[in-house]
């Protein structure tokens, strides 16, 4: 696959204004972004995500390391590299609130040296795509936050760049608009062959639309993996059995002996047994124990790991175990 962005040994530190303390925001960051993919950039607050995005956008100079955009080093040839990148960094704050929807699109296109005539059809297409056609002559300050967010993405789209960087694209949006934005992003990749980098706290967004994720913690990359592979890495064979009768003490002892990590709870109606198996055939051993007292089984559920659980495990350092 063609590399669109190459990041190597990136480091950036800041000096705090009052205390003069030096903060190492990013250190030894290495990863590539490939053409046509949606890359999710994840990390807890203060991990270095925004710094990394700003470094890619050429809004910050690194202390060391290099970022190449389509082979162009973005510190040496900043303006040339910016021809391939557009971004939404602060969502609806990236717009002029006293201009209308169409005027904003035309103005930002003009700032990239494009004429109103040249972008007219593209703007019409984007307004339809982002469902803003009926609002095109509305001042931005009269739009809902969701519409403003969509407009900010449309402005970035109009730049016609191969790479689109979105910092928290669904932050503060209601559920419906959040889903609309996700669908729009998917269709951008599918229909416009763009490469998208998304920084987000919303695990659902990353899980739903990203092909690959780079997780940054304390300024360094801790994971660079395809999302589906990442989930597989952390997937465990965990089953939860709902029983119609409680287990006898002998049964509980037998299960504890064979499956030390089990969890057993009872309530007034059901008993619940959660076991972690090494291989799926091991479930027959559970059946053997249950058969001792012919304990009736109400249901068996495979417990799937959620993406946010994977993220937490990685941040807590469990990824080394999974990777091994």
């Amino acid at each position: 696959m063609e590399k669109i962005i190459e990041i190597s040994n990136l480091a950036k530190s800041y000096r705090k204004r009052k205390s003069r303390e030096i903060i190492q925001a990013v250190k030894d960051v290495d990863f590539n972004v490939y053409k046509g993919e949606i890359l999710g950039l994840l990390g807890p607050n203060g991990a270095g995500k925004t710094t990394t995005i700003k470094l890619i956008c050429g809004l910050l100079y690194p202390d060391s390391g290099e970022i190449k955009i389509k082979g162009i080093p973005n510190t040496d040839n900043r303006l040339e590299s910016l021809q391939h990148i557009s971004a939404v960094l602060e969502g609806n704050r990236n717009l002029y609130w006293r201009l209308t929807v169409r005027e904003n699109l035309e103005y930002f296109a003009g700032n990239r040296g494009r004429s109103r005539k040249e972008v007219k059809e593209e703007i019409d297409e984007l307004l339809h795509m982002f469902q803003l056609k009926d609002k095109e002559n509305e001042l931005v300050n009269r739009l809902s936050r969701g519409m403003q967010q969509k407009l900010a993405i449309a402005v970035a789209m109009l730049a016609n760049t191969e790479v689109l960087l979105l910092d928290e694209p669904t932050l503060g949006l209601d559920v419906q608009t959040g889903l609309e934005v996700r669908e729009i992003l998917k269709s951008i990749v599918k229909n416009y062959q763009r490469t998208i980098i998304i920084s987000s706290h919303d695990m659902d967004v990353i899980h739903d639309i990203c092909d690959r994720t780079v997780i940054i913690n304390q300024g360094t990359v801790v994971i660079d993996q395809r999302v589906d592979e990442l989930i597989k890495l952390f997937e465990v064979l965990s089953y939860r059995l709902t029983l119609n009768e409680p287990l006898s003490l002998d049964q509980q002892k037998a299960i504890s002996t064979r499956f030390p990590t089990n969890e057993y709870v009872e309530d007034q109606v059901y008993s619940y047994l959660t076991v972690q198996l090494e291989k799926s055939e091991d479930i027959y051993q559970i059946f053997q124990v249950l058969q001792l007292n012919r304990t009736p089984i109400d249901s068996i559920d495979r417990k799937a790991i959620r993406f946010d659980e994977v993220f937490l495990k990685i941040i807590q350092g469990d990824h080394q175990y999974a990777m091994d």
Binding site: K12, Y14, R15, T51, K54, C57, G58, L59, L60, Y61, L79, E80, L82, Q83, I85, S86, A87, L89, E90, R93, N94, L95, Y96, W97, R98, L99, E103, E106, Y107, F108, A109, G110, N111, R112, G113, R114, S115, R116, E118, L139, V155
Partner: protein, 257 residues
Amino acid sequence: MQWINLFRANLRKEYLEMKRYLPNTIALVLTFYFIFLGLFGVIHFFGDPSTQDANIQFVIVNYIFWFLALSVIQMFGFEIVNEAIRGTLEQLSMSPMGIWRILSTRLIASTIIYGIIIFVLLIITMLTAGQWLNIDILSIFPIFVLTVFGMYGVGLMVGGLAIVYKQIQAFLQILQFLLAGLTFIPLAASPLMYFLPFVIGVDLVRDIMIDGQTLINIGWLPLTILFINAFVYFVAGLLFFNYCERMAMKKGLLGQY
């Protein structure tokens, strides 16, 4: 062509925002007019009657240029601070045209719009004062362009400070008085005045508008000095602005306010 599109986009934006913030624009024009009336009243009622006409003409030209200098020089700083507050400064910085080009075209656009307003105000002030200045467009225009060019240089320097420090409003207040000094003090006051920004340009415009000089009468030497002065200030301003932009990027100050 990209430059033209960039200029058109910024001219349109300046016009639209001026229209949308109409009360602000009207307040600005009225403030300008009432301050002039105040100055006119002082000269009329308390000044020496024998030099009254010359004094009023002197005040009209200087006041117009002070207003222009304020608009042009402070605008860079104000625009950067406003864009940082709005959250659009980083967006502008991400244009492959470069932020200085965007702000320069915006400044040219705004100079044109303010130029029209100032011209109308000039006519109104002349009507109010009953003093008619020599408006020789052919002679004034090249000097005006070079003078404004030098002002842009100073504006870029102020913009450079704004991009790093952001909270420069107090400095801009002081700057108003410095600019008043540069526009009101005549060139003859000291040879050092030749080295200061736009002073020579304002002096030449005064020669044309008050004393009825023409471009040919002025001669090539003052015009050459004006050209060098404007060029040096513009280049120095541009270099300083780019230096400050790089510093802001190194320190992570670009979008901060």
